[in-house]
């Protein structure tokens, strides 16, 4: 269970604004986190705290394949990203590195920036403590859950080794 405040964004939040290419000369997660979202929300990095949640509309994470994008979001303390839809490379990268992501258009529509929201990743239940509303999302398919439960793709691979 995670619990935090919501940062809300619109459609097509691309990986270039999640982490601009000018910072891709490092793989250090904390350094990437310090520049996360800065081209669309320069206050994000300084105001985000552990357990906070990003809520966005369509096609979150579109653009480049840079895994630095979910890494930056995860390292900034974000516990979960909820969106209507995710771009496919971002979606698989998030699963592979263990950044929880949920697709839930109903929650996206009704949750506002600054709301206090908790997410139960095991059951897929999203609770908005500000409005008192509860949302249920679909669980991941079994083989994807296996990757998440192993703690990422490489851990799964290591177990099979």
């Amino acid at each position: 269970m995670t619990n935090g405040k919501v940062f809300k964004y619109g459609d097509n939040v691309d990986t270039d604004v999640i982490i601009p290419a000018r910072y891709l000369n490092t793989t250090l997660a904390s350094e990437l986190a310090s520049h996360c979202m800065e081209d669309i929300d320069k206050d994000f990095a300084s105001s985000v705290s552990e357990g906070d949640i990003i809520v966005a509309e369509n096609n979150f994470g579109c653009g480049s394949s840079r895994e630095h994008a979910p890494i930056a979001i995860k390292a900034s303390g974000i516990a979960c990203v909820i969106a209507n839809t995710f771009a496919r490379i971002f979606y698989r990268n998030s699963i592979n590195i263990g950044l929880p992501i949920l697709e839930c258009p109903e929650a996206v529509k009704e949750i506002n920036a600054g709301d206090n929201v908790s997410v139960d990743l095991k059951t897929g239940v999203i609770t908005n403590h500000t409005s008192g509303k509860v949302y249920k999302t679909h669980p991941f398919p079994e083989s994807i859950q296996e990757i998440i439960q192993s703690g990422g793709l490489l851990n799964k691979l290591k177990k099979a080794k």
Partner: protein, 419 residues
């Protein structure tokens, strides 16, 4: 049940007779690709997981192209990390300064990708190889690390959208206009998680370079892959080039598509994507007066020889507009040398443009042409997101080499017809 071309390639690589959309499969890979931005993360993960072997050193390609020749110490350290990995595992296809090129122009040129292949690359524009009738898709660094070890990747079998291309494109209309038109039509998530399968009698009017450009930007519509059938144009290109035996797949005649679009290429006009989305398209006659600071002709989308030929023919004997910076980047050394032999580079330099060593450079705002606040560029590249080429308050317009070269002469977005 009937299958699309993509589904057939995935089924064959998963060892299955049949797959259907939505099915999760594990497929064997013919080639695994990484670059100097994505590979260091993969190498770190590979080492952290204590993986000790590469599945096949001849089926790995590592291309140092984004920040090379190294733009700063950090970029140099990243390349060093990949170089050391390549030496440790004796990787056959490691490309560094001197042999490198922009990866998606380089790999087809080197014959490392071809018809029937199943390819992943830790770069979103890996979908370029669909031009050759391969299944190719972009992934991230963790997928790369796992595939370097296992030679496999998991996929959700995609459904498909079919684009039936008809008639001969008009003058000054090329592959870039076809794909920008399509992205404008369906949007940046119009093909999300899906294949874009191209078909139709109009294919015969599209050169292999046009097809590379179209497949390259499938990702800008959110697609998993873009794919072309194999025909004589493909066969001619791969002859004496492709190092493995090609396998030609084609979609079943009764394959099911979620949607089918007919595109009359003879009715298309040169198309420009305005800031800040590739789907924000306007035809050239609706662009208004957009004054420019910089032009970039290059990238994995349009940095091939035919692109440079188009630009050179337009710029020959003319001068770059005063105050404009024009940067031409041949995508590989082979392209660079051919462009030199054919006199294109001389034409560019005499006109007042500069010619850079191959690099992804300015396309992703890395180096070699970064924009300041308030500046505008037209580029033959693939993305015009906020801050893509530099300052978050700069602007990138995407277009073909015809439009970019004509704009280089006038200093504002122009068609060659206006010269």
């Amino acid at each position: 049940m009937a299958m699309t071309m993509t589904q057939k390639i995935l089924a064959a690589h998963a060892g299955l007779d049949q797959v259907e959309s939505g099915q999760l499969i594990t497929a064997k890979l013919d080639l695994v690709l990484g670059n100097d931005v994505t590979s260091p993360v993969a190498v770190k993960e590979f080492e952290k997981a204590k993986l000790d072997k590469v599945f096949d050193k001849s089926r790995v390609a590592l291309v140092m192209d984004h920040f090379t020749p190294n733009k700063d110490i950090k970029a140099a350290e990243q390349c060093k990390c990949v170089r050391t990995f390549a030496r440790t595992f004796d990787i056959d296809n490691y490309f560094d300064v001197g042999t490198m090129g922009v990866e998606h122009a380089l790999l087809p040129e080197q014959g490392l990708v071809g018809p029937g292949d199943c390819i992943i690359g830790a770069d979103s524009h890996t979908c370029t190889y669909g031009a050759l009738g391969a299944f190719a898709t972009g992934v991230g660094s963790t997928d790369l690390a796992a595939a370097l070890y296992s030679g496999q990747a998991w996929f959700k079998v995609p459904s498909a959208i079919k684009f039936v291309l008809k008639n001969k494109p008009a003058k000054y209309v090329c592959g870039k206009d076809v794909i920008l038109h399509i992205i404008g039509l369906i949007g940046v998530d119009g093909a999300l998680y899906k294949s874009m399968e191209f078909a139709g009698e109009g294919l015969k009017y599209l050169s292999i370079d046009d097809r590379f450009t179209i497949a390259n930007m499938a990702i800008e519509a959110g697609a998993k892959n873009g794919i072309f059938p194999v025909d004589d144009i493909t066969r001619k290109y791969i002859k004496n080039r492709f190092k493995r035996e090609p396998v030609e797949y084609s979609a079943d005649e009764d394959a099911v598509y979620e949607q089918t679009f007919e595109i009359d290429m003879s009715a298309l006009k040169p198309t420009v994507a305005f800031p800040h989305l590739p789907s924000n398209t306007r035809t050239i006659d609706n662009c208004g007066e957009i004054v420019l600071d910089q032009i970039v002709i290059g990238s994995c989308t349009n940095g091939r020889l035919s692109d440079l030929k188009i630009a050179a023919e337009i710029m020959k004997g003319k001068k770059v507009a005063k105050g404009l910076r024009v940067i031409v980047i041949p995508a590989t050394n082979e392209i660079y040398m051919e462009a030199m032999e054919k006199g294109y580079l001389k034409i560019f330099m005499e006109s007042g443009a500069i010619v850079s060593t191959p690099t992804c450079g300015p396309c992703l705002g890395g180096h070699m042409g970064i924009l300041a606040e308030g500046e505008r560029a037209i580029a033959t590249t693939n993305r015009n997101f906020v801050g893509r080429m530099g300052h978050p308050k700069s602007e990138v317009y995407l277009a073909s080499p015809y439009i970019a070269a004509a704009s280089a002469i006038t200093g504002k977005i122009s068609s060659p017809e206006n010269l």
